[in-house]
Amino acid sequence: MEWRIGKKKEMSDLEVILGLQNRDRKTEEWFYRSAKRYFEEHFNEVFFDKDKRQEIFQSAFLKLWTEIDNRRIRIGKNQVCRQQQSGEVLPMKCSLTTFLMAFARTEYRELVRNTKEEYYDELYECDVDWSELTVSSIDRDEDDEEQKNRVVDECIGGLSPHCVEILTQFYFKGLSLDEIMTQRGEKNASKNGLKTAKNKCMNTLKERITIGFKKYNLII
C-alpha cells in the first residue's frame, strides 16, 4: 500500500515504517497528514460529532504510531510484520491504512460501550494468507527492552483517559499534586482524592504490566 496525496505516489508502507522508526520528522508529519486525509475520506461509520471523530482519529493514529515506534509493527524480510499477543511475529497482508481503520473502529466501539478493549488480534481478521505465514515463536533476536516498552505502551493504551492524564502530568510533566489540581480545576475535589486516583491508576497500570511481562517472560 502506498500512501498517496491525491494521485501522486508518495511513500510506501515500508518507507513510512523505516522513517518513523528512525524518528524522521518529515516522515512523521507526512504520515500524519496522509493518514488524516485517508481517514476523513474513508471512515463511513456514524460519528457523534466532529470532535469525537477527531478524538477517534487521534487515538487510532497514536496507537498505530506507537506500535511502529516500539516495533510491534516492523519490517521483517522486506515486508510489514506485526507481533501478535502470543508473541509470534507474522507478516501481514494488511496495509497500514487497514490498521489505522481497524484501530479507529475499535476506538469507536470503545467510545460507544465506554469500555477499554485490550486485545487487538482482531486485526488479523483482515486479509492474511495463512499458507504463507512464517510461524515462529517469539523472535529471539528481539530486544527485551523493546518488548517491555511494547507491553507498557499497550497497558497505557488500555487505561482510561482520566488515568493517563493524571499519570502523564505527574510522571512525565513532573507536576506536583497541587499543580495538577490547579490545572484540572474541579475534576478532583481534594488533594487526597487526586492522590488516591493517581495511586490507583498507577497500581492498576503496574499490575497489568506485570501480567504482560510474565506472559513474555520478561523481568521487571
Binding site: N149, T168, S176, I220
Partner: protein, 198 residues
Amino acid sequence: MNEERYLRQEADPLTVRIAERLGERQQKLDRMAAWDQSEKASRLRPLYWAAPLAACLVAVVLIAVWVKQETSPLDELGIACPELTEYRAASPELDEIAGLLQNEEFDQALKATAAALGESDALIKEYSEWNDYLGEDEDLVYSRNLERTVNSELRWTYIYLLLKKGQNRSAKKEIRKYLRYPEFCEHMEEAEQLLEKI
C-alpha cells in the same frame, strides 16, 4: 511545604519506564496538535491577505462611487448659477426665482422654476394656436418670441437646478427640449457639453 513530586532518581525501574513511555506518548500528541495547528493556519493564511485586500477594493469602489456622485457636471464644466437679471422685471415669478437663486435656496427655486416653466410652456402653446388661427400677426410673433426667450432662460435655470439636485436624467430630457430652439439658446455650448457629460 513539602510537595509530592515524581523524582526519577528515587523511582523504581518500572516507574521510570512508565514515565518514559508516558513521555513518548505525550510528545507524539503534542506533535500531532502542532501539525493540526499549522494546517489550520495554512488554511487561514490566504484570508490574512485576501480579507484586507477585499476590504481595500470595496473601499476604493465606494470612494469612487461617492466621488463620482459628489462631483457635479456643473462643477466639472464650470457652469455658473443663472442670475436671471435681465428677466427679473418681466414677472414677479422670475423676480422671486432670481432672489431664491441668489440666496442659494435651490429646493424652493426648483419648485418655483418648474411652476413658471409650466406656465410659460402653456403660454407658448397658446400663442402657436392663435398663430394657426389668426395667421402671422406681428405683435403675436413678437410676444411669442419674447416668451420663448424667457422660456429658454427658465428652462436653462431648471436644468441647472435639476443638476444641482443630482437629477441628471430629468436634466438630460430638459436639455434636449432646450436645444430644440437653438436661436433662443444663450447657453447652447454649455448645454451640448452637459448632454455629452451626463
